[in-house]
Amino acid sequence: MFRNVTRLAGVLSLCATLAVPASAQEQPEVRIGTDGGYEPWTSMTSDGELTGFDVELAKLVCERMKRSCRFTAQPWEGQIPALEQGKYDILVGGISITPERQKRLAFTQSYANLPINFAAAKSSGLNGKATWPELRAALVGKTIGVQTGTQSQKFMDNELKGEVTLRLYDNQDSLNLDLLAGRVDAALAGRSPWIALTRSPQGEPIEVLSPNLDFEQFDYLGVGVGGLMRKDSDDLRKAWDEALCTLKAEGEVKRIAEKWFGFDVSVKPDAKICGA
C-alpha cells in the first residue's frame, strides 16, 4: 500500500515537472525590440549584450509573467514599422507615451517620467536661467539639435518653430558628437542622456541647462515612458501591466531607476490598472 502511494506520488510529481515546461511552451517567446543606443534606458555592454534601465526592468517583468523573452537591438527609427509588421511583440527603451502613438498603437502603463532639458557648452553662457521664457529669449537665433521623432522635437515645433535653426539627428550619439564639436549651440533631449553624457570623460565641457521642462508646464510632453505594442496584443499588455503593478508596489522599479539614473524616475502604480 505504502509503496503504491509513493509510486503514485512519483508519477504525479513526474507529471507536474513535465507539465510546467509543456505549459510554458504553449506561450510563445516574447520578442522585445529596443534601441541599444539610448543610455541609460537601453544600451549595449562592450560584449554586445543589451542592458539599461528598460532592459533590466523588462527582464524582471518577463520573470514575473513566467515567460521567456528575447531581446533584439534595432535603431529607434525602424522600430515602429517592425512592430507593426509583427517582428516584435513589444518595444521598450525610453518611449514616451503620446496621443499620436496611442492612435495607432497601445502602451503599457507608464513606469518612468522625467523632464527634458537643454544642454550646451559651459562656455555658452546659456545656463542659470530661472524660467523657460528667460531661456527661450537666449536661445532665439541659435542652432539647436534634437533627435527625430522625440518629444524634444515636438517641443521645438511647439515653442520655437522658425526662431531657431533646427538640426535633426537620427540618434542621440550623433547629436552628442555635434554638440561637443560645436556644430550646434544647444541640444534638447530627455534629462537622462545628458546625465550619461556629462558623466562621461569627453562630456566634461557640456552642462545641463535649467529649467527642467516637464509635463506639468507642457502637457503635450505626456505622462512618461511605457512599453509600446500593437493594439491587438491585449493579453500581453494585461500580463505586462499586472507585472508592472507588483514591481512598482514592491519598489523594484524605484530600485532599478536609482541604479541607472542616480535618482528616482519611477511612476506610481496606475490606479485604473492596478486598482487602489
Binding site: 527609427e77 515602429i80 514599422p81 507593426e84 499620436e100 502613438r101 495607432r104 539639435g145 527625430t148 521623432g149 538640426r167 535633426l168 539627428y169 537620427d170 550623433s174 558628437l177 555635434d178 564639436a181 560645436g182 556644430r183
Partner: protein, 254 residues
C-alpha cells in the same frame, strides 16, 4: 492617411526637392572637376603623381559613401586643432560636408568613366590627326574629346543618376533633403508606406526626366552615320540598306 495629412506631407516633400537638386547640382560639377584632375594625373609622366591619383580612385571606389560621409563629418570634428583652423568654416556646415564627400566619391567613379572613354579611342585616329599636322591641343579638342565624350556619356549618365540617388545619404548628417524630410514625416505620421511611396515617385520622376534628357543628348552627339536606325517599318518598302542596318528584320513576301 487623411486628406490634410496627405497635403501637408506632399507640401513638405516638394519643399525638400530643392535641397536634393541643389546637392546634386553642386556635387556633379565638383565631381567632374575631381575626375578630370584625377584622369590627368593618372596619365602624368611622373610616377608619384600617377600613384597618388590611383590611390585616390582606389580608396574612394572601395569604401562605402556612407562611411566616407561619416568620416568627413563626425570623424574630422574630433580634432580640436581642426575645429580651430579655417577649414572648420567649411566643415562645420553639414551641407558643404555632404557636397565634399559626395564629390570626392563621384570624382573617383567618374575618373574611371573617363579612363574608359579615353581607352576606347583607336590609336590610328590620333596618329592620323597628328599626321595632318594638328597640334596636341587641337588633337585633344577636335579628335580625342569628341570621341571620348560620346563613348563615355552612357556610363556618365549612369553616374549622374547614382549621384542623385546617393544624396539621400546626406540626411544622416542632418541635411534635410528628400529622404531626411521623409524620415521626419514618418516619425510624425507613422504613415510609412504612404510617405516613402511618395518619395519613391518623386525620385522616379526626377530620374526619368534626367534619363530622357541624357538620351536626347546622346543622340544629338552621335553623328548621323553612326545613329542606330529607328525600329519603325520603313514607309516605302525598298531594298535593304547598304550598311545592313535593317537586316535583322525578316523580309516579307509581298
Amino acid at each position: 492617411m487623411d486628406f490634410d495629412t496627405t497635403l501637408r506631407v506632399a507640401t513638405e516633400l516638394f519643399g525638400a526637392i530643392w535641397v536634393t537638386l541643389a546637392l546634386a547640382a553642386a556635387t556633379l560639377p565638383l565631381g567632374f572637376l575631381f575626375a578630370a584632375l584625377a584622369t590627368w594625373a593618372r596619365n602624368s609622366r611622373y610616377r608619384i603623381v600617377r600613384l597618388v591619383a590611383e590611390a585616390y580612385v582606389l580608396v574612394f571606389r572601395s569604401t562605402p559613401l556612407l562611411v566616407q560621409i561619416f568620416l568627413l563629418y563626425y570623424g574630422l570634428s574630433q580634432f580640436a586643432w581642426l575645429r580651430a583652423s579655417w577649414a572648420w568654416i567649411v566643415l562645420r556646415d553639414p551641407f558643404s560636408c555632404a557636397i565634399i564627400a559626395m564629390s570626392l566619391c563621384a570624382g573617383a567613379y567618374t575618373s574611371e568613366v573617363m579612363r574608359g572613354g579615353l581607352a576606347a579611342i583607336p590609336s590610328g585616329v590620333i596618329e592620323a590627326a597628328r599626321a595632318l599636322g594638328l597640334s596636341q591641343l587641337r588633337v585633344f579638342f577636335l579628335v580625342t574629346a569628341p570621341i571620348a565624350i560620346r563613348r563615355a556619356l552612357p556610363a556618365y549618365s549612369n553616374e549622374i543618376i547614382v549621384t542623385l540617388k546617393s544624396t539621400s545619404l546626406a540626411s544622416t548628417i542632418t541635411v534635410m533633403e528628400l529622404t531626411g524630410v521623409a524620415k521626419d514625416l514618418m516619425s510624425q505620421t507613422f504613415a510609412v508606406i504612404e510617405v516613402f511611396c511618395m518619395v519613391a515617385v518623386i525620385y522616379l520622376v526626377i530620374n526619368m526626366t534626367l534619363i530622357f534628357a541624357l538620351r536626347r543628348l546622346e543622340i544629338w552627339l552621335t553623328p548621323d552615320y553612326l545613329r542606330v536606325k529607328s525600329h519603325r517599318r520603313p514607309k516605302h518598302a525598298g531594298p535593304a540598306m547598304p550598311d545592313g542596318a535593317g537586316a535583322w528584320r525578316p523580309s516579307r513576301p509581298t
